[in-house]
């Protein structure tokens, strides 16, 4: 058992922090619904931060740490699938990587655009293809999630089959879902904490009212739990660990998402405050892989057979 960061891991997180400093905050009143940056994406690729999993001294836990850290940014970066799933398939697959479940074409797909790799996880196998214009249907302006999204028009007849069990891929998907959720929860918690500490009503910061304090404290407990379960899932590669991590992440996202906006009052209903950048990503993550119920049953099957 060794739960402290290695020197390499600390160094990588420090690198990420300095590289992403220009992207770490967004000016108030200047927030679109889904904030992305091609420049940031290019810098992360160039720095090799999405390829750390394959490096022997770094491995999947480091990749999960990278995903968690990047998820805290106001900018949406496709890091999760690239950093933890792509190495299992083919490290050369073009990014972004979009993970979908077979038969779930009605659902919006995060980061989907022409040129993206779509990974289709079925009951019995995993296949992929590179999306072209004809596969991608823009989601339009009505999207309420803080990710770039599109719909898939269909899966082509010609796909590449990958030599990996579907269950193994789902396990990794669950682990990285939890890692991303941990970062989103941490950033939203920080944002809400700052707001309630500054906002005054009845002559005092609203953070001094216990009705808020205890709920924020419970969110801290949940966030910490998601963080550690995600790292453990990445580290062990165990199906039960991954399902528990994803379950805990989706449970926490559901509970915390409501509270965060509640504590910001009407300010949390605006696009002027950046809170939604994290919470409206968390919302969509609760829909991944069949939602909480599916994670729970998967966990039970993995643990108790």
């Amino acid at each position: 058992m060794l739960l402290s960061l290695s020197d390499d891991q600390t160094q990588i997180l420090d690198f990420i922090d300095s590289l992403t400093r220009p992207y770490a905050s967004v000016p108030m009143h200047d927030v679109s619904f889904a904030l992305t940056s091609d420049a940031l994406d290019a810098e992360l690729v160039e720095g090799g931060f999405l390829d750390v999993m394959a490096m022997e001294e770094l491995g999947p836990v480091t990749a999960a740490l990278v995903v968690e850290r990047l998820a805290r940014l106001p900018f949406a970066v496709e890091a999760a699938a690239s950093a933890l799933v792509r190495p299992l398939l083919d490290p050369e697959l073009p990014r972004p990587l979009c993970l979908i479940e077979e038969g779930q074409l009605r659902k919006p797909v995060r980061f989907l655009k022409p040129g993206a790799t779509v990974v289709v996880v079925g009951e019995n196998g995993v296949r992929s293809f590179t999306a072209t214009e004809e596969h991608v249907c823009e989601a339009g302006d009505e999207v309420l999630y803080a990710y770039p999204l599109a719909y898939l028009t269909g899966v082509p007849d010609e796909t590449r089959t990958h030599d990996i069990a579907a269950e193994k891929l789902r396990t990794q998907w669950r682990a990285v879902l939890a890692a991303e959720a941990a970062g989103l929860l941490a950033a939203a918690l920080q944002s809400a904490t700052t707001y309630v500490s500054e906002r005054k009503q009845f002559g005092r910061p609203i953070a001094t009212f216990q009705a808020l304090r205890h709920r924020l404290a419970e969110i801290q407990v949940a966030t910490n739990g998601v963080y550690w379960l995600a790292l453990r899932a990445a580290g062990t590669g165990d199906a039960g660990d991954a399902a528990l991590a994803a379950l805990h992440a989706q449970e926490a996202a559901k509970r915390a998402g409501y509270d965060f906006h509640q504590f910001l009052g009407a300010m949390g209903m605006t696009l002027e405050h950046p809170l939604h950048l994290w919470t409206y990503r968390l919302k969509l993550l609760t829909a991944e892989l069949g939602g909480r119920g599916a994670q729970a049953v998967a966990a039970a099957d993995a643990i108790w057979g």
């Binding site: 290695s6 500490s197 924020l216 404290a217 528990l244 119920g293 729970a296 039970a300 108790w304």
Partner: protein
């Protein structure tokens, strides 16, 4: 990072499990229903802890100079997990191992160490914690049990309540008021329970026989040499010891064991085929494992020589959530367990329901997280 036990750690766990399997009586599970503070288990524990001590398993994490093996915090955690998994055959002596010993080492005088450490090490000494009072529970710093210095003795008058183990304890780790300066006016006295003027009354409880008591102090004379630390140093010392106490009982581990056993019963009955039941069980497991990893993160900090801060309250709250979830799961899906059909699950339930109350109410943990982890501005008092 590595989330697996090392070979040595796995072997250490194996050695402990083997020892318990070989040395606990046949009817141990039924017997352990008596509760850790019952006369029966206290008596059993005196013999059993002696045996553990003889085999180097009572406090292997203590330094060698006081009889330990000098093993690290991970081994301490493994030891605690195995003991709790088996229903805590050390009874109330777990306290000695978890925090009284370490606190004695850090704050005791040479004379106190010489007097108490060998007694603790023999596996025969039982302590009780004289903390809560009728009007001082969560607001512990308001406690009023007085200790007035008269020559070379303190005269103690007052009352404690909810005191575990008081009925059979040898010595009380007693918080007293020596001045009116709230936290700075509290002083610890180590009081032999057979000192004249002490009256103990047992309170019947949901959590097992002999567990909680009222303790009355009427003109109890305690030598100054029995003062632990300086006058007014109690708050600092109990801060240190409670951090150990909050981590020391691996409730997440017993809760997980109880959950696994409940699932075993449900599989046998066929009820575990229902997805709603499976999903609830998984939610409980997620809470147990979230608590486990939160605690492990702190154990790691200890290994690295770091100071344990308010994150122990966060881990503690996670543990309370896990205990609550498992207790409720068992009641909902295995109700017969609390009606005589499972000694183990009944034992777990009786210990689990106090998780949010003992060693600091869950709401106090949330206050600490809000103020000291999240750094929210403090509430007006």
């Amino acid at each position: 990072m590595n989330f697996e036990w090392t070979e040595e750690q796995a072997a250490f766990r194996g050695k402990l499990v083997d020892f318990l399997e070989a040395n606990l009586p046949e009817d141990w599970e039924e017997f352990s229903k008596h509760g850790p503070a019952s006369p029966a288990l206290t008596e059993f524990a005196r013999g059993f802890c002696r045996k553990l001590a003889e085999n180097g398993m009572l406090f292997p994490h203590w330094p060698k100079e006081i009889g330990g093996e000098g093993l690290g915090p991970w081994e301490q955690q493994i030891l605690a997990e195995v003991m709790w998994e088996y229903g805590e055959p050390r009874g109330g002596q777990y306290m000695n191992v978890n925090w009284i010993g370490p606190t004695m080492l850090k704050y005791g005088t040479e004379a106190q160490k010489a007097r108490y450490l060998p007694q603790i090490a023999s596996g025969e000494m039982l302590w009780c914690q004289g903390f809560s009072e009728p009007n001082s529970g969560s607001d512990l710093a308001s406690l009023r049990t007085r200790a007035e210095l008269e020559g070379d003795h303190y005269r103690v008058n007052g009352q404690k309540i909810w005191t575990s183990y008081a009925g059979l304890a040898d010595t009380c780790f007693l918080l007293t008021r020596t001045s009116d300066d709230r936290k700075k006016g509290i002083t610890i006295l180590l009081v032999p329970m057979d000192t004249p003027g002490i009256t103990v009354r047992q309170i019947p409880s949901l959590i097992g026989e002999g567990d909680i008591h009222e303790v009355f102090f009427d003109d109890v004379m305690v030598p100054v040499t029995q003062r632990f630390g300086e006058e007014g140093q109690a708050w600092e010392i109990i801060g240190y010891s409670l951090t150990n106490e909050r981590l020391g009982i691996p409730r997440y581990h017993l809760a997980r064991e109880a959950l696994d056993r409940a699932v075993g019963i449900l599989k046998e009955s066929g009820d575990f085929a229902r997805e709603t039941v499976k999903a609830e069980a998984a939610r409980c497991a997620a809470l147990c494992e979230a608590a486990r990893t939160a605690i492990y993160a702190i154990v790691q900090k200890r290994v690295d020589g770091g100071t344990i801060g308010p994150e122990s309250s966060s881990a503690r709250f996670a543990t309370v959530q896990a205990e609550r979830a498992v207790c409720e799961f068992v009641v909902e899906y295995v109700p017969e367990a609390l009606a005589g059909q499972s000694a183990f699950l009944q034992m777990h339930h009786q210990r689990g329901i106090v998780a949010g109350i003992a060693s600091g109410a869950a709401e106090i943990q949330l206050n600490i997280i809000a103020s000291d982890v999240l750094q929210l501005p403090r509430e007006p008092r």
